[in-house]
Symmetry: C2
Subunit: 209 residues, 2 copies
Amino acid sequence: MNQRGRDPENEQPVAPPAPRKRTGGRSARVREAVLAATLDQVAEHGIEGLTIGDVAARAGVAETTIYRRWGTRTALIAEAVTELAAVGNPAPDTGTLRGDLQQLAEQISHLISRPGIARLLGTTIALSTDPDVAAARHSFWNERFERTAHVIRRAVDRGELPDDADPREFLETLSAPLYFRLLVGDSPLDGAFIARCIDHTLTLYGKPE
Amino acid sequence: MNQRGRDPENEQPVAPPAPRKRTGGRSARVREAVLAATLDQVAEHGIEGLTIGDVAARAGVAETTIYRRWGTRTALIAEAVTELAAVGNPAPDTGTLRGDLQQLAEQISHLISRPGIARLLGTTIALSTDPDVAAARHSFWNERFERTAHVIRRAVDRGELPDDADPREFLETLSAPLYFRLLVGDSPLDGAFIARCIDHTLTLYGKPE
């Protein structure tokens, strides 16, 4: 249950997910409230402006609760960002590569339009020399890529992609144009654009239909 | 001479470039010093932290000189960012589409690795609701796309691309993976990656060789 982002059929040497206490009840509620408060603070004030005190006040818990559970500001931010990266959980499993890519691209579009995500992603570029920010960035992308790699591995198993398909390279090709529109900011992520991204990726990597 | 970014053979209804006084001598030196100081300030403190006073002190000119010439902080930032976007001036003209794309991709790689550019691009995402930031972002990308559109138009003229090739769409496809690596931050923009970006773009848009 704690193996989110791993496929037991295709075990890969990936970084293990951060340990999560799932003791239920009050503990689970505290965790949820603190992570939500962390993301809200990041959305409003950026990673650089986040303090444990502000998060504690917003979540309605004691600062010591946060320090005891997460240890450091860095660990707290990384876990909150990993939660955010999990948008679209579980990874799509529609039965076809094209169907999965459609859902994935829509999830990316949805993620990008979430309040605060532009601020978060922009900050990870702008302040990439800040260790907390770099850790948050690494957590975010690691979670995104590892979670969605299953889509590619299943397509290989079904014979829709060649055996040597590289999940990371494939997902980079699908995702880059979507995130590039976030960077440029002038064009919508509409259905026609999503369809083009999928067609391009399948043209470049898919087996002839 | 002031028509940078326009092709007289292929006049397009684009936003005109900002008027530039090129009176030479002291005036040109002041302009250069102020724009360089603006970019240095952005690199160190971000767009959000830039003040006319700081730029004036850094450039060794009076604040009134900046206000008289640029009018507003917004106009100053937009012009400085437009200069930065012009990295790789003039647009490549090697005689072949592939040669031009190679130079373009190398220019993007060079631009991304400039001190301060990550901060600038990240800020334009993070603070996109700030009018000054939004204006800077628009100036930057408008300059990038308009400047390089000539590469595509020349390839169409040479018969290397179909007549209906859309320069913006083509350049988005080439550029997105390069900028996406800046966003993710975990992988280098090396020669092999640049070669893949070019191959992909030509596969998707080029005529069969």
